[in-house]
């Protein structure tokens, strides 16, 4: 397309250039013809005739005794000069070369010169001039003839015709140039219109794009509106269609959706395609709550059935988020933000995929934004940070000389109180703070451990939860460098991984595991049994530990099926050489049961809740039966 356009433009330019050059050349030729050939040669010929005629007259007068010899000689000299000029210079060259002019005039000039002696002779008699007079009388008609031929002969006519033709050609050239100019203008116009269209429309579905949508929304709300409903929706798992069936299939699906939506657009409904798989409907005018509610619901169900048919794997579904003006939002920006929040909530609503904005969504969003800003700040501090670590003991059944502990992040927010640890991790991950959070945990652990007596620290095994962004190729390198600043050795470190960390690439994960193992760092699979593919993980990756989720442990005594799981998982893990940790052990009964099932390590409230470092210190001293009071006191001071 671009190539064709370029070629067309090049062609037009070439035409322009060619026509211009040709026209200039043609004009120049015509001009030269008019001036030099016609104008100048006509003048030269006319002067020649005139002066020869005057000489002829002078001869006649002299013979009649009415002119003196000096005047005769002057006329002779003028005729001589004129013939010389006519036969010599370039001015008369053109006419000289036509109609045998030179062959007539040169011999005549020679004959004229031969009368010089006679004419200057002091003894000149009028009768002596008879031959000259005769010669002149004979030659003058030939010169007259030249004049006539030059003006009316076929050559002159042809030149005139050429001139007329050149004038027509010039008109043609102008017309061609005009036409080419018009074509260029049209092309330019079409191009500009195309660009303009693309600036405001999605190139695929040709629906208004995000910019057009925002403009429409702002303009709509500038004028007082009784009610505006903004309905945003997108296609869940659309990316998978692109990935598995190709982008052409994805595009087709979007076109189908767009076509379907176009059909529902009536007065008061504005439709836009505002992102890859995101569309917007703006409903305005007088409509009742139930009418637009029904309208959006209808669209949702129509799209759902359309998508169900369009995607053979039935993965794609539609999520819809709705906000209202003026009930929710006060302006266009708020309306859009609220609809976006509702859409986000709808995506997480596995049943309906449909959410109407409510204030809870806004406060949730604002809280997250607030937390993001504050987390960044808290992570830049260490000693006076509102963040701190808790250590939940993990008891080893077979080795009472060592104590394990899982590090858990805590945030005692000045206004909001304790923040859910899952929220902290989520906010960090969503705002690109995942790695920073990991580093902070390591730094804080180092600081905490420095406060404990070294003999105690040496007997600890510490487990840190990995967030998604930490699990990358540099994990080992980062962990080792962060450990350098503290007393914990790589051999004491356990990294806990949950299934939520997407292990798309098992090959890369295996490489990371190998690096960690080579560095002496152990890896535990956390929350085992809650994910979709726990066994796939266990199959593909070499874990050191497996932590059975507390949902299997708690109420074990009430549900006879749960012990079966725990026992079997433990047996399976042991056969694979993986040790087993039971999480969430709270009662003596549960402890007895997991002990009977040969679980290797036990974590839970039965032993201890997650403890701040000082309480953990006491717990550890007590548990490990260490006389650490003095050392600990020294350290603490």
């Amino acid at each position: 397309m671009v190539r064709t356009k370029f070629l067309l433009l090049a062609l037009i330019m070439c035409t322009f250039l060619g026509v211009t050059i040709w026209s200039t050349w043609n004009y120049d030729r015509a001009f030269t013809q008019v001036t030099r050939h016609t104008h100048l040669s006509a003048w030269a010929l006319a002067q020649l005739e005139l002066e020869l005629h005057q000489f002829e007259g002078a001869v006649d007068y002299y013979r009649a005794g009415r002119l003196n010899q000096e005047k005769l000689n002057e006329a002779y000299d003028l005729a001589w000069n004129r013939l010389d000029v006519f036969l010599t210079g370039r001015e008369a060259k053109h006419i000289r070369e036509r109609f045998n002019a030179e062959s007539i005039l040169r011999p005549f000039f020679v004959r004229l010169q031969s009368y010089e002696a006679l004419l200057t002779s002091p003894h000149l008699l009028p009768s002596d001039l008879e031959p000259l007079d005769q010669d002149l009388h004979n030659t003058m008609p030939a010169i007259r003839n030249l004049m006539v031929l030059n003006f009316t002969g076929p050559t002159a006519m042809r030149e005139n015709a050429e001139l007329a033709g050149s004038s027509i050609q010039n008109y043609v050239v102008l017309a061609v140039l005009l036409l080419v100019g018009l074509v260029m203008l049209v092309l330019l116009f079409l191009e500009a219109r195309g660009q303009q269209f693309l600036a405001w429309n999605n190139p695929l579905t040709r629906l208004p794009n995000r910019a057009a949508f925002l403009l429409h929304l702002r303009q709509l709300l500038r004028v007082a509106q009784p009610q505006v409903v903004l309905c945003l929706f997108d296609l869940n798992r659309f990316k998978e269609v692109n990935d598995s069936l190709g982008h052409a299939a994805g595009d087709r699906l979007l076109l189908t959706v767009a076509d379907k939506l176009r059909k529902v657009v009536t007065e008061g409904v504005y439709l836009a395609h505002i992102g890859g798989d995101e569309f917007a409907l703006v409903l305005s005018g007088n409509m009742t709550q139930s009418s637009w509610f029904g309208f959006t619901k209808r669209i949702r169900s129509q799209l759902s059935s359309l998508l169900y048919k369009a995607d053979p794997a039935h993965r794609v579904s539609v999520s819809m988020g709705i906000s209202q003006f003026p009930q929710h939002a006060r302006n266009a920006d708020e309306l859009l933000l609220f609809a976006d929040l509702a859409l986000t909530a709808a995506r997480h609503d596995d049943v309906h995929h449909y959410q109407l904005f409510n204030l809870k969504m806004l406060s949730h969003y604002q809280r997250k934004r607030q937390l993001a800003g504050e987390l960044r700040e808290q992570l830049s501090r260490m000693a006076d940070s509102q963040l701190y670590l808790c250590y939940q003991p993990v008891v080893k059944r077979h080795d009472k000389t060592r104590l394990g502990a899982e590090l858990l992040i805590r945030w005692n927010h000045a206004e909001l109180g304790f923040i859910n640890p899952l929220d902290i991790v989520e906010v960090a991950e969503e705002n690109g703070l995942g790695e920073r959070l990991g580093e902070w945990v390591f730094q804080r652990m180092n600081q905490d451990m420095d406060r404990l007596p070294q003999p105690l620290v040496r007997r600890l095994d510490l487990a840190i939860n990995l967030s998604a962004s930490l699990f990358n190729k540099q994990l080992t390198e980062h962990a080792l460098s962060w450990l350098l600043d503290g007393p914990i050795l790589p051999g004491q470190l356990v990294l806990e991984l949950t299934e939520t960390i997407a292990l798309d690439d098992f090959t890369m994960s295996q490489r990371i595991f190998a690096d960690l193992r080579a560095a002496g760092i152990r890896i535990a699979l956390d929350d085992f049994g809650t994910g979709w593919s726990s066994f796939a993980y266990l199959k593909e990756l070499d874990f050191d530990k497996l932590k059975i989720d507390k949902s299997f442990i708690q109420k074990m005594d009430a549900d006879p099926r749960l012990p079966v799981f725990v026992e079997t998982i433990t047996a399976l893990a042991h056969k694979l050489g993986v040790s087993v940790v039971a999480e969430g052990v709270e009662t003596q009964v549960e402890l007895d049961m997991v002990t009977a099932m040969q679980v290797d390590e036990i974590q839970g409230y039965f032993y201890a809740r997650p403890l701040p470092i000082d309480k953990f210190h006491s717990f550890a001293l007590n548990y490990l039966q260490l006389e650490g009071g003095e050392t600990a006191a020294n350290k603490a001071s």
């Binding site: 010899q69 000029v85 010599t88 210079g89 200057t120």
Partner: protein
């Protein structure tokens, strides 16, 4: 003036026409208030030769090849006569005339040529005076307008 004509006629009758080229009047310059109030002045070839001479080598549309032309600069002559007109009418023996701007004459070496290749110009060869522009040295001058101002067989100059 009448007397002069008579003398000239007598000389001609005496067969001294060749001598008249050297001795006779070949140029008449007319300008209001010029020439010590006389309004006009005539020149013989000898009188023109007394004035500073300038040589111009050039081609012309009416001659073959380059030739060397010699004569008084037009601007020099005007200075000599104290004429300050903007343009002059140059008149020829064959009644051709052209208007010559004096500005051009002072800007370029425009001469009233009386000799070509050291030979006195005769009437048969554009004499007695040929206004020569330096066409070869200033190609921009080589155009029809200038050509029309290169009057040959010049016999009178008048300022209006």
């Amino acid at each position: 003036m009448g007397l002069f004509r008579v003398v000239l006629a007598l000389l001609c009758l005496a067969g001294l026409s060749v001598a008249s080229a050297a001795d006779g009047v070949i140029l008449t310059v007319t300008a209001k208030g010029c020439c010590s109030g006389a309004g006009s002045q005539t020149f013989t070839l000898a009188q023109l030769d007394v004035l500073p001479q300038t040589t111009v080598v050039t081609t012309t549309p009416w001659t073959e090849g380059k030739h060397s032309y010699q004569g008084v600069r037009l601007s020099e002559l005007l200075k000599h006569l104290g004429i300050q007109a903007g343009q002059l009418k140059a008149h020829a023996l064959n009644d051709y005339w052209a208007v010559v701007p004096t500005a051009e004459a002072s800007q370029y070496p425009v001469i009233l040529a009386t000799r070509q290749d050291d030979k006195v110009l005769t009437r048969r060869n554009k004499g007695p005076i040929f206004i020569v522009y330096p066409l070869s040295d200033y190609p921009s001058l080589d155009q029809e307008k200038t050509h029309s101002e290169m009057v040959w067989q010049l016999d009178a100059l008048s300022a209006e």
